[in-house]
Symmetry: none
Subunit: 201 residues, 4 copies
DNA sequence: TATGAATGAGCTTTCATTCAT
DNA sequence: AATGAATGAAAGCTCATTCAT
């Protein structure tokens, strides 16, 4: 019984948090980060303002949740690729495509995540970790590739920074200009470049 | 006399603006962009709040000034390299080194410039152009390199995004971790990577 | 339910706005228009400053409300007299008495309405129309009186200015000196004067 | 010598005050009462801001002076008429014409004097006295007229209020609408009205 | 003496957070 | 349990007045 009630409560909480998540995304899309007031979120979510504080300790926590939830599918997809049984270069390609796909989809939200959310430490601790995980993932793939002689010997830590930064910039450019580039083309272009570099053969 | 007075006034204004500039940097370092209040700037600068408005029409103008002043030496150095009479790959190397040097120096400030200042139209029109200029510069060098067969034929626009993004990410990593990597090493690493890519020879 | 809640809310809002109205009047009485700060209004009303903004979009709206609420009973009473079925001179008399009665009551507030509120666009569009309406009303009565030969032929537009100005000045004098003259006596005096003029019969 | 110096100083003071007077009028015309800042006055007068405080104790005193100076010619002209040796009705006519002439001329300034300057007691004590003097003047003429049987017996105090208020309203209307009515016509209209009233003969 | 630089005190407005219902 | 009303604290900005030069 107690357990059942707890179950139910957790369900409710979960549903509410998702509703709030969507409201936040909506408000961010419409009013930007500076226009993200608790009032607006509550109104958009169709709940009382005070209720937001039943599900999140404060605005910062709410944003953290939103961030995590938004990034989650990307992380999941990437993990799947990481665990798959394909050569390192294929893994890298798959990861890049995953990034391009998701970031292109969610447009405004990811635009905010890349540009605004470093601000003032709203998410600092979490978000950096997030980014760090992405870097770690790439780094792992690189190491694997180096080990299996698919890639030449490189400083994997720094090289993963190069790759991540490059991808991020590409997406940012897309979003900033409201363009949508074909995911495959982008991926191939990056892969091609990172494979061969600038060198004339 | 009038001219002399004007001269003196300009000096004073200039000195004050620099003082305020430094105060802003200090406050940004300590409290972040959202913690950058006029009160704090005034306190840090050791002047009355109202005085700030004698030297800048409003907060936005102040930030514009700070931004311009901070970015100026980088821009200048890059322009110098661009005009110099060296092969494209040397130019690219020089530009990259310039970025690493300056961004490493000013730490927090440039960290903010890369992440925060696009926010909410604080500097919108100007700042975007700033980043775009950087991209254009790299793009030009790439084109020059392609023309002179120093580089292989690449999509210069997108490739400049790759390079800029990579550099930005490297610097960000440095600043985030409060580390300082040797400029030369960084430059060579990036150049090496972008030259040869990941491919096993 | 929803309807009931709405009803209640409207009541609360209405009560609050009236409370604020009275606070404004009080502050105006004590500190004048330039001393009418939101802080003082809030303090006088016994609410937080921010609460004022729950009931009025901004200071200007608040003043508009105060103005409307204060002027409303006068306007209403005058309209009633205008529509009544009595000779023009009786109508004029009734209107004048109405003015004297109400203006005498609200003292400081109406003093401000006549002198201050045209200032600087606080109520600009509305308030000018207000005074103009009063003039129009008098003008209409005069025209009616002229048509029915109760009054001699006069330039009704200008004459209404004369009458309105005279009444206004009388009230102003009263308020300035904190005197209270009997309404009837005042009315009769004015009517008598405007009827016969200065001429020796 | 001391006396001479004093003389010279008084001259300078006088000249400066007049210059400031004109600057104030200019600023009032251009920016309204709320736009009348000491900065603007100083700039318009071509003197340092601090200098204003050499010639006036504070803003309020400055405004008092401006008011007095603006009203002075009217007062003077009226006094002349009062002392002249003509029948009371002629005197009244002359005074009215004087008012219409001057008030029509100075447009903006007198518009402000009639509408804005009661605000917050900027000039209260002085200005009321000013107005009271005007009323006294009219009252005296009326009394004289009554004594000499030019006017019928009226309550001169209140009647002077009627007349003054009427004139004021006429001028206000003119200024508010940026119209200019012929002085003579206005005067005759008022005189005619106040002589005969509304009564059908 | 004349001044412009400096500023304290104060303005309107906003919003995350609380709390009585 | 859910909420909207209430608000303290803080923001950007202004201006009459002073004071060192």
């Amino acid at each position: 019984m107690t357990k059942l009630e707890q179950r139910r409560k957790e369900m409710v909480t979960s549903v509410m948090r998702e509703g709030i998540y969507e409201a936040v995304v909506e408000v961010l899309t419409e009013h930007g980060l500076d226009g993200l007031t608790m009032d607006r979120v509550a109104a958009q979510a169709g709940v009382g303002k005070a209720s937001l504080y039943k599900y999140f300790a404060n605005k910062q926590e709410m944003l953290r949740f939103v961030h995590a939830k938004a990034i989650e599918p990307v992380t999941a997809a990437v993990q799947t690729h990481l665990k798959s049984d394909i050569p390192a270069d294929q893994k890298l390609r798959a990861i890049l495509r995953t990034w391009f796909e998701h970031l292109g989809e969610h447009q405004v939200l990811f635009n905010l995540f890349c540009n605004d959310f470093g601000v003032e430490g709203l998410l600092k601790s979490e978000e950096l970790t997030e980014q760090e995980r992405a870097l770690q993932d790439i780094s792992n793939v690189l190491e694997e590739g180096v080990r299996s002689s698919v890639f030449r010997k490189v400083d994997t830590a720094r090289t993963s920074l190069l790759i991540f930064g490059a991808v991020r910039q590409l997406v940012e450019q897309q979003l900033a200009n409201d363009e949508t580039w074909p995911t495959d083309e982008l991926t191939e272009h990056v892969m091609d470049f990172f494979s061969r570099g600038l060198q004339v053969r």
